[in-house]
Amino acid sequence: MTTMSLANSLTDTSEDVRTRPPLILGDNDFASVTEKVCRVVETSKTPKAWWALFGLSATVMTMLLAMIGYLFYTGVGVWGVNNPVGWGFAIVNFVFWVGIGHAGTLISAILYLFRQNWRTGINRFAEAMTIFAVICALVFPGIHVGRVWMVWFLFPIPDQQLWMWPNFRSPLLWDVFAVGTYFTVSLLFWYMGLIPDIATLRDRAKTKLRETAYGVFALGWRGSNRHWQRYERAYLILAALATPLVLSVHSVVSFDFAVAQLPGWHTTIFPPYFVAGAIFSGFAMVVFLAVIARSIYGLQEIITMRHLENMNKIILATGSMVGYAYAMEFFIAWYGGNPYESFAFQNRAFGPYWWAYWIMVSCNVISPQLYWFKKIRTSIPAMLVIAFFVNVGMWFERFVITVTSLAADFLPSAWGMYWPTWVDILTLVGSFGLFFTLFLLFIRWLPMVAMAEIKAIMPQAHAHSHDPHAEREHRVLAEAVR
């Protein structure tokens, strides 16, 4: 079995449709796919690796909570933000985490609209990743406002004493609506996809407690085709809504910068450049998580090398877009003839934060280019390393954009350096603890692969056998392809 699946995984990435095996490898049928995905959740013996990772993540998450508590108790002075750099790690981390989320929506919505059936193997946990990443992102603006008890000012809530409203002409408020909508829609999309699979867990439950717990969230799903019809239509519409939404979210995040007048921020390239970067970093995170999860839980036949290779191709494409955007920013800074703009970019590459800039360039521009080689694209260790570098690079991209432009703006007399404090650094590290804790809980209690969707793309799902005409047509077509 293992040698067979190994052989399969090697030919799995063939570009030739005639020799390409089905999306699900091995000798799987509906029952075995159900079994393989459900056993991860149903097992009474949680893998040791899960406990080790969970213990670590939960500890790191506790540190995040401690840092937030300290911040609330003492004030934002515990951070390195100052005048002129009023946006430090909090905003860098916010943009970083929102960006991570984008890959999940791209996989679940855009690839769905493009009928990329391979997405079914990875869409569930990519969507989960989106939700957890956006939760991490939302923490930062929330704790960054200084007086946290005023955080409700972000929303247009009527107040009897202070009869005032938020400023809708500010991109910061657009951001509240964009990220809030993004989180809500992603959550609905994810939960909707989960309903049939939660019903599967309910129906397989061995104990009353499990049956009730999953039963409540399954809402009484009984696989009715009258329900499937509305469900599929709603799912398609949600995908069609999430597609412009995801493009708008990072565009609006980039408006936080681009609508300002600061050199290095005030550029029209920001929205597409941010979106490409977001997808780039998000896919790196999906690859990272997928490689680890499939090996811990033996899901190599469902999340195959082809999935990983396809994602690496997307990383290559979006990484090249990001590299192009870096080059174009420099070109326009020179070609535009604005001395402040051209200084801002020289300062980025050769100023006091030169190291951050070159970490960003080497991680984001150089490392994905290695994916031109199929050997590297299909090598597990190589993709783990590159995915790691891409995420480091994308974090530094946000650092470079946020900090260098603020630290050196129009008047040299107003310049000032920014350095993070230990609280800044531990808060950033802690946010990874929050992310991985949520992700590990998800893997333990919910099906990480969309079973119903996987079954629908298996060869057994296509019922041609009862229509002789269609069957003949199918055979003729198959022969023509050969």
Binding site: F168, L219, G220, G223
Partner: protein
């Protein structure tokens, strides 16, 4: 949801016929449709391609709910921004106009998407009659496989054409691997 014990005391709720492949349920559904039954259903672990037509289902109302949600969201976004920033408490900031469409597009767009998505999700939930945790089909133990790897056809006793003996015979003629009486 709870497993039935097949006792004969309950009230007849209908029949449940089990199939092993999507092809079989597709063919059987065509026949049930042509026989004129109306209160019946096919239960499958995944959406089977072509089953909507085989069952003769009409198109769904979900897109209209979405349209309604989207238009409400769009109007809410525009009105909210106009009322708060240009009407109820106008305040000048950065010399920007109190009211200008370009600055108000992002929030309008997001609310349009948000309420459309609510329309799609809650429209599907409400039209499907969710949540509904009890149903005659859940009384069957075999039905647990409807969300895993088996395909079921159910005809309710409420169907005007339903006849305890005739329907059973009709269902037997459709093939299938197991015929079961549903009771509540």
């Amino acid at each position: 949801m709870s497993g039935g014990n097949g006792s004969m005391e309950g009230k007849m709720a209908g029949y449940l016929l089990e199939f092993e492949t999507p092809g079989q349920i597709l063919e059987a559904s065509r026949q049930v449709r042509d026989a004129g039954y109306t209160r019946w259903d096919a239960h499958t672990p995944f959406p089977v391609h072509g089953l909507d037509r085989a069952m003769g289902l009409k198109s769904t109302l979900v897109p209209w709910v979405v349209l309604g949600g989207g238009m409400t969201g769009c109007a809410t976004g525009l009105l909210l921004q106009w009322w708060t920033n240009a009407h109820n408490y106008p305040f000048l900031i950065s010399g920007k106009p109190f009211w200008s469409i370009p600055a108000n597009i992002p929030v309008t767009f997001e609310l349009t998407i948000l309420l459309s998505a609510f329309g799609a999700f809650f429209g599907m939930i409400l039209l499907n009659g969710f949540p509904r945790w009890n149903h005659p089909v859940f009384s069957s133990d075999r039905f647990r496989r409807a969300t895993q790897d088996r395909f079921f056809l159910s005809i309710e006793a409420e169907d005007p054409l339903f006849d305890e003996r005739g329907t059973a015979e009709f269902l037997r003629s459709l093939g299938g691997s197991h015929l079961e009486r549903l009771e509540v």
